[in-house]
């Protein structure tokens, strides 16, 4: 029935499915619509890869983490419940978890500053670049507004892959202090980003 080569016309898929919500795409992926998964990758593959690369610091390992996460999306799309959270959050959370698992296994953690990796133009065109830059500036701006200790806790945990106990030891702080820095940091980040922070819906590039 399905051949391995069918249906992978990138631009076609984006054109046809571009106006669907992420959640609708997940529902289609749950019914084995491959073009829906392709569209989800086209929307989130770039931030997913950037995140994985930031954490594991190795291109091959980053690719593996992203591949694993999207295959998990494909296999478990039927269990996704839109009422519990957005599809983009689900996808990026899967990627993050994979990358953190890899970095712990590989003992690769680094704590370089956020802008260590050079930016390169992607293939998605000027619209996509501008949109990504906007997202990045908004979140970086919000991070900069956090008190140093909260930002440090979030960055070491999220990008560094450290556990809360490792953080406590590394920073010479009681575990309870680390917990509250992470909690307040995340809560404050949510306020700073506001309601629109999580509106990361794709807009058609046609």
């Amino acid at each position: 029935m399905a051949s391995g080569n069918e249906g992978w016309h990138v631009r076609d898929s984006r054109h046809e499915l571009a106006h669907l919500s992420d959640e609708a795409l997940v529902a289609l992926a749950a019914r084995s619509e491959q073009t829906a998964l392709a569209e989800l990758y086209d929307r989130y593959g770039r931030p997913a890869y950037g995140l994985a690369l930031r954490i594991v610091r190795d291109e091959t390992l980053a690719e593996d983490a992203v591949q694993d996460a999207f295959v998990t999306v494909w296999r478990t799309a039927q269990r996704f419940v839109p009422e519990k959270g957005k599809a983009s959050t689900w996808i990026l959370t899967l990627v993050h978890r994979r990358a953190v698992d890899v970095v712990r296994r590989e003992q690769r953690r680094r704590t370089d500053s956020l802008d260590a990796a050079p930016e390169q133009p992607g293939e998605g065109g000027a619209d996509e670049e501008a949109w990504l830059r906007l997202q990045r500036e908004r979140v970086q701006g919000a991070l900069r507004q956090l008190p140093d200790q909260q930002r440090e806790a979030l960055e070491l945990a999220y990008y560094g892959g450290y556990t809360q106990s490792e953080l406590a030891a590394r920073l010479g702080q009681p575990l309870g202090t680390i917990k509250s820095r992470m909690f307040i940091g995340l809560a404050r980040l949510r306020e700073l980003l506001g309601e629109t922070a999580t509106e990361t819906r794709w807009t058609s590039t046609t």
Binding site: S21, R31, L37, G45, P47, W74, R75, A117, E119, T163
Partner: protein, 224 residues
Amino acid sequence: MDLHDLTPAYALHALDDEERTRYEQHLPRCERCRDELAVLTESAAALAWAVEAPPPPARLRARLLETVAAERETVVPLRGRRPWQAIAAIAACVAIGLGVWAGTLSSRLGHERSHNHVLAIVADPASRKLPLQGHTGLVAVSPGGEGVLVVENLAAAPAGRTYEAWVIPRGGAPIPAGTFGGGDETTTVRLREHVPRGATVAATVELAGGVDAPTEKPLFSARA
């Protein structure tokens, strides 16, 4: 250890294996933690966008889609499942029912040129689904007002006749919205006219080629 305290670290994947296991056992029993986790996870995921990085190599996309295509061939389709049974499931669980039905529908619409667009409107959770009165079926209306009429087991129109769809704005006259022949297990019609709120979508049998105004009572209809 107070397990509630672990929520932020769990959202950041900053628990060790043992803590993670304990927290995951706790989660199904604690609504407060589930609610808090949903919120904090959203904040944590926003951090992904702050990273400045090169784009992924094209081979990653190719590799992913190859893997997925290979897995798809081993998936057994839902044979014999009537789409209408799946639609009934929508009432119980909108998202999953729609996914099932949209998938079933997609396999039936393979030859239709407007397949993806019809499917998109039907599958979009944001579109309204209006049950038909007078026949099994529904009308799906996108937030933008685009409508798709879906009818189950509609007999083929008699020789020299056609089915014709109508959009009837509230207090207005019927506007022709396309003709169709029926005769399929699932008939889908992308309505030519937008469907405003409060309008009625209806179908009649008319002379082949269609007419400008309906000449008989509707066979079935739905109120938008």
